[in-house]
Subunit: 380 residues, 2 copies
């Protein structure tokens, strides 16, 4: 199997699964329980939180464990909007967000909030001037995806954070799910209030995630109940899931040190080669994250191509997994101004640090063979 769908999900590292099992077996107590089994679990969770904080260079009290990226985005966005609605009801995001942000803002529109949808261009990014122009007295939240999950483009979140420091009452949330490790992002003193990451995108286990919530921020919780996670996320904690995620994060960040350059070379070569294949247009812009390459074969249904690759043991995707069942052209590509033909035929290749040049070589060889032949069939 040549797995090139790492932006949809990744295979958990075996060390990660070992950690999960060890904690589930030896630290099964409820961290809220007062007896030794509870206290051991609580201590382990505390250490896990401290480790996460060290890896992200933030404070342990700024780490909130969640069930994943969708929860993190929902919690940061709905939690801020509902908590601060008395301050104002204006929210800002972009047209090219992941469904877990996009749909959340649509839900908030139905609740009576007003949303400014910043346009993204063919580079998949917004213009910082557009953000500046959109700010209003009643703006309470700006939320940007860092690395676009379909295109691999990189939004100017550092610039945005710097600028938004002038507006201490506006909360700034970054969807860092695709960015973590791949496009390093400083969280301390960066003007970022909330930052979402998801465990299964970097070889952790599914059902785990983390929300960075800057000290001093508050959120209206999605889950009411016990006082876990700084009273912002009720429910019995999942120490095994958290420990597995943080172990994965450590390995992921270690690999990123040399991994990003390697990935960048591999995907750079891939883009150059794809550009040479007739019928293919590359959608990923020049300024990009190292691990995602998006291209289209106008005139070809992307499902057909995904299936053809699949038969050869090569796994790629159409758009985001969360929207892959919808028959419509990619909402993200359409929003970025790509033609309907291009938006309807996008293929995403997404790598992890474990992919090799050989993987891409095999992928390319097969692409050169299959794309012309499928185009020929489609033309008939």
């Amino acid at each position: 199997m040549i797995y090139l769908d790492n932006s949809a999900t990744t295979k958990p590292y075996s060390d990660v699964l070992d950690a999960y099992i060890k904690v589930s077996r030896d630290f099964f107590g409820n961290p809220s329980s007062l007896h030794p089994a509870g206290k051991q679990a609580e201590r382990l969770l505390k250490q896990t939180r401290e480790m996460a904080a060290r890896l992200l260079n933030v404070k342990p009290a700024e780490i909130l464990f969640t069930s994943g990226g969708t929860e993190g985005n929902n919690l940061a966005i709905k939690g801020t909007a509902r908590r601060h609605k008395n301050r104002g009801k204006h929210l800002i995001t972009t047209e090219a967000e992941h469904p877990s942000s996009f749909e959340t803002f649509q839900e908030l529109e139905r609740e009576g909030f007003e949303v400014t949808w910043l346009p993204a261009d063919e580079t998949g990014t917004i213009k910082i001037e557009d953000l500046k122009a959109a700010l209003r007295d009643d703006t309470i939240l700006v939320s940007l995806i860092h690395v676009n999950n379909e295109l691999g483009s990189v939004n100017p979140v550092v610039e945005a954070g710097e600028y938004l420091k002038k507006y201490p009452k506006i909360r700034f949330h970054v969807d860092h799910v695709q960015g973590i490790g791949k496009v390093p992002l400083r969280l301390t003193d960066a003007g970022i209030d909330f930052c979402t990451i998801s465990g299964h995108k970097f070889h952790g286990v599914k059902g785990t995630g983390l929300l960075f919530a800057r000290e001093g921020t508050v959120l209206s919780p999605l889950f009411s109940g016990g006082s876990q996670e700084w009273q912002m996320r009720a429910g019995t904690e999942n120490p095994a899931g958290a420990a597995a995620m943080v172990k994965a994060l450590r390995i992921h960040l270690e690999k990123s040190v040399s991994g990003n350059e390697k990935l960048n070379l591999i995907t750079g070569g891939l883009i150059a080669s794809l550009n040479d294949i007739r019928g293919i247009v590359v959608n990923t812009p020049e300024a990009r994250a190292p691990h995602i390459v998006n291209f289209s074969v106008p005139g070809l249904k992307p499902e057909v191509l995904v299936q053809a690759y699949g038969e050869k043991g090569i796994y790629v995707s159409t758009k985001s997994a969360c929207s892959s069942r919808e028959p419509e052209p990619s909402r993200v590509l359409s929003a970025c101004g790509f033609s309907r033909e291009v938006a309807a035929s996008g293929i995403r290749v997404s790598l992890s640090y474990d992919n090799t040049e050989e993987d891409i070589h095999t992928f390319l060889n097969y692409t050169k063979e299959i794309v012309p032949s499928l185009l020929e069939v489609a033309a008939k």
Copy 2:
């Protein structure tokens, strides 16, 4: 270790952990992905859902996987209230709910809903007449805890469900987290619309749960995003967590066949013996679930007793784990009309099918020794 805090959490069965690992390793694809790795994960998740449905005697389309009991209660309650608020804004629950329901209703009161809090008496249960009297034209939801998590008392949810069939526009939710297996509950044609269970309460893994949502019901989601879980719970599915939970559910329900009678005998003997110890009052009523016994030692701080047991390797709890950090007397016992002294000194012993008579024998022997001696110290 004699673990008698199974209502807080349970130790995962080794078969359950094996299932978790196998699925995480061999079916790691994103179930929404269109390639074979995605489709394999999707198929496995489908089979897991079907198995859950068979075990609960409901339809696969009525199973919604969640991250646990707190999420299930929040989703059913907030989801119904927000979805049907145009029909009416009156909700009914009880004063003796778990925090994940109790706090959720309090949150909904702040949102503008009106809540009738049915009183519970010293048996820990509501009177069906009180429920009937509380129903109004604008009532949209009734939510009852089935087995009380502190007292082990059993609310008349079957009677309530039967009665509520006359009101097809009122949704009926049951918090079945402590009841599952221990007090069997029929879900088909029982007038129950939503029913919450949590994986880690029956030797599954933490971070997993399930909400039964009767066919034809709709909920306003807590998580917006992708169209997973019948569009009521966005986010990448967790097939390993679901498979582990459903395996645990199968084992748990198998054990319940002979296990409940055994547990009932053991806890019956425990209650009789506790009644004979001077200074102890048993709070659990006669009609009760087989696995929970709550007693108080008025005049003694329950944390002191929990710690004394802990030093002997015996693990029990004060109130629910989700509220064990709060220094106040138990809200649930207070609501049921127990005196402040009793409510402030409650101890919960909660068994699983794996506890033995020997465990309880050891517990009792130590109780007979430690309670009088701690009372003596406290009296000084």
